[in-house]
Structures are given as C-alpha cells and as structure tokens.
Symmetry: C2
Subunit: 278 residues, 2 copies
C-alpha cells in the first residue's frame, strides 16, 4: 500500500496560533473546546494544564480564560471582563474580521446577511456584533432569502470562514438582483480552499481516501464530501483507532488529508497504522 | 395576419422625461442626439425647433443646451457652465446614480470597475466622475479582468444601465473571488429588463418578430438578440419603410416590440403598414 498526503492539509494559521497561545498560558482554561479535536484538547490538558469551561458561570474572578478560534458573542466577552477574568483572545484574526465588518456595517445602516450555520459558534459570535439584531439574518441557501425582510435596501454580507465559495456567490447573486447596493465581503478563508483543492486533486488519483478530523467539524465534513465525489471509498475518522483493515483490501494507493483542527501527531499515528496493515 | 404587441415596449421613464424637457424648451439644442432615434429628433426640430450640437465649440454664450439622457463627461459640463450657457439637464436619473456612486466611491478610496462599453456616451460620462482616472476600469467580459491591476483591494462596481444582468453577475463573481471587499451597485435599469422579459415571452409564441428601434441603440440590439433566440425570423427596423412584405409570407402571428428610444407614433406606423400587407 502506497500512502500519499495531500499537498495541503491539517492545521490552519488560526489553529496553530491558538494552540501556541494555549501552550503559553499554562493553568488557564478555554471557554468551550479550543478546537474541534478532543485528542488535542486532552494533550493540552495533560501537558499544559489547560482546562475547559463549558459555561460562563464556571469562571471565577482572576481566572485566565482563553477565547477560542471561533470567537464568542460580544455580551459573553463583556461579561467575562465584568468578572475580572484575565481574557486571552485566541479568536482567529480571520474570524475577528467579519465580527468587525458586521459591527461597522450595521452602524452605517446596512442590513446584515451572514452565510453560515446559525448554530455554529463562529456565526453566533459574528451575529452578535450587529447593532440591530432584528436586521442580522443568517442563511445557508439562496432560497432562504425568500423568508427574509431586510429593513434597508443596502445589504452587507459576510460568510462563515469555512463555507463554500460557490454557494456564497449564488446567495450574493440573488441579493444583487433584488437590492440596489450589496457590499460583499469575502471572509471565506483561503486555508480552507487550499486544503479542499488539494483533497480534490488527490482524491481523483487514489483508490481509498482517509480524511482525519473531528466529526463535528464543518471543514472536515466538507473535505470528506469533496473526496467522496471522486473516490467513493473515502472515510472520515477522528484517529487511528477507527481504521478498519478491511477498507484497504485490494487497494494500491491511499490518499490522506486532514481537517484544519487535526494535529500532525494524530496524522502521523494514522499513517503508521495504515503502514502496519501491509 | 394577427399582430401582438409585447406587454412592455418602447420609451422608458428617462426618455419620456427627456422628450418632455425638450418640448418645454423650444429654440434650444441638445448636446449630441437626445435619444437614439433620428425620426424623433427630426420631430423635435420641426415642431419645437430643438436643434443639435455636435461639439462643445458649437455652443455660444447664453445658448440653452439640453444634456441628453446618457449624460456627459464632468469636464464637458464644467466647460458648458464656463461658457455661460443655460444648461438644462435631461440626464436620466438612473444614469446620474452611477455617476454619483463613482464619484463617492473613488473619493472613499475604492478602485472602480464599470461593466459597459468604453465607447458608449453613458459610460464615458460615468467614468469621468472617478477621482483617479487611472483606477477607473471599464470591461465587457469577466476575462477582461485579467488585464486589470486595481490600485486598491476594495472594489466598487457599477453597470451601464442597459447591460445584461447575467453577465454583470459573472463579472461580480470573478471580482469577489479575488478581492476582500466588493461593493456592488446594481445600476442596471428595470425598464430594460421589463422590455426584454416581455420580448422573450412574446418571441416564443409568434412566427415573426419585428423589433423597432435605432440600429446603434444598445438596448434595441439586445431586444433583437433575445428575440432571435426564440424566433429566427426576427427583424430589426428603424421605421415602417424598412418592412419587406416577403418576410410575412405564410406567417400567422406577428409580434412587435420596440427599443427604449422608439416613440409610439413610429410603432403605430409600423403596425399600420403590416396590417396593409393582408
């Protein structure tokens, strides 16, 4: 079995930065999981005593609280500061950007449209920066626009960093046809595209494709859906324990990619296990 | 031969308004042809003594000069005012809008992209309002973007009022993928769409389609290209003298539409002549 890694995979800039920040603040805790990867969270706990808050109410005065890459809603940040917690902001700069855009645009009288999952923490954070919460709208499909009544005829739009650009353009096109001004901010992250493009290319040439990443991670799920289009034998796993030797029967070339929250040490363990099947 | 008129055709709001202005200012003259229709220009000359300047140098002090629907470049307007001419502005309000957008956006540090014909008077006028003329770009196709180097990474874009929205979206999509902010102003005029949609529908049900309008008018040529897709026997004529009885042999239903610069009295003469073929 030959193994080939995608030309781009794994940690993005924002995740590398957040992990470095967490390692620098021993004995702190993150507000929610720092990244979509339980194994890496365990490593930070074991090696750096970086814990996890699940609720704002867990935080005590003078605690050191790390804000994760997705960011948090504006009022949660305000409440943390009220508690006199030491707030370390590991929000990805590419997520801070749409937060600030939504703040500025809504203060200038634009209706806000966010392309993303309303339940995703990143989107909840971005949404919270709108001045008029009744005029911040979140959609996933162009057809969702039919249900929306914008308060203004000037629309500003941002996208969740991990979304697909093609769908964003569909939504933007529908907006342009119905509104005099549409201010389009392309906040989709290039890192996501680079991993996706590399996964697409690699999945065309392999017999089996292993996608390593959190099963609740948007960008990992997208990598998997891209791979499965070209290579039906594409499997999404969180670590080497989920590998099944039967997947590899009669396969010659195995491609590997990993989501933006997957650390290199997990990828290496997967590679080693696959090699052991030979 | 049955004759059916499109549900929308002919003069748009801006043209009706400009002709009314010209009729109100007898013994004036327009800077360039008021609209793309020689017959209507002749009528204004004969009935209201509204003449025609071909050059700024034709204008003398205290002349009454009518600016046509397409507008004129900013400096030409300034020069007219310097001559102490009485300037009557019949620029279509839907053309004044992109002029003002280009002025405002370039003063705010946006690079400007105009989707339109660089040689069209409307586009020349809109272009002239850019503060940095080296950063006002005019294109007709998405592929033209490859030749452009914008000075900023914020782009503001407007379209010539008579252009096709589908092509505008293609250009906008290409811009969004390469720039962090694209501020899209949909300056394409609804009247153009309404005439186009009606022509499209009618051309599907008729045996022959007559498109009446100036042969150098963008919007008339677009009506003709839409009709010919559905009805190969689609003819573009300027007036009833160009009708050929042979076109109508063995035809049962004749559809009629007209460009935004075509007066009702010309359409009526065409209808009368076709009826006389029976």
């Amino acid at each position: 079995m030959e193994i080939k890694l995608a030309s781009n995979y794994g940690f993005c800039f924002g995740v590398k930065r957040a992990i470095k920040i967490a390692e620098d603040y021993k004995n702190s805790a993150t507000m929610g999981p720092l990244i979509h990867n339980q194994d890496e969270i365990n490593r930070l706990k074991n090696d750096f005593n970086v814990g996890l808050y699940t609720n704002l109410s867990d935080v005590k005065e003078n605690d050191t609280v790390i804000i994760r890459t997705h960011g948090i809603p504006k009022n949660d940040l305000k409440n943390l500061r009220k508690l006199n917690a030491k707030v370390i902001n590991a929000t990805c700069p590419f997520v801070t950007t749409p937060q600030q855009i939504v703040k500025k645009m809504s203060s200038e009288g634009y209706s806000i449209l966010i392309f993303g999952d309303a339940d995703h923490p990143e989107v909840k954070g971005v949404q919270s920066y709108g001045e008029d919460q009744d005029d911040v709208h979140i959609i996933l499909e162009p057809s969702d626009l039919e249900k929306i009544t914008f308060k203004n005829n000037k629309i500003a739009t941002v996208a969740q960093t991990t979304k697909k650009k093609e769908k964003y353009l569909e939504i933007v096109n529908a907006l342009i046809l119905k509104n005099k001004e549409v201010r389009v901010f392309n906040t989709i992250c290039d890192a996501t595209f680079e991993n996706q493009d590399a996964a697409r290319e690699l999945s065309k040439e392999v017999d089996i494709m292993i996608v390593i990443g959190g099963k609740n991670s948007s960008n990992t799920k997208q990598l998997h859906s891209i791979c499965i289009e070209n290579c039906p034998d594409s499997y999404l796993i969180e670590n080497e324990n989920e590998l099944d030797i039967n997947w590899f029967l009669n396969k010659k070339l195995c491609g590997i990619t990993a989501g933006a929250s997957t650390p290199d040490w997990i990828i290496q363990q997967v590679v080693n296990k696959i090699k052991s099947f030979n």
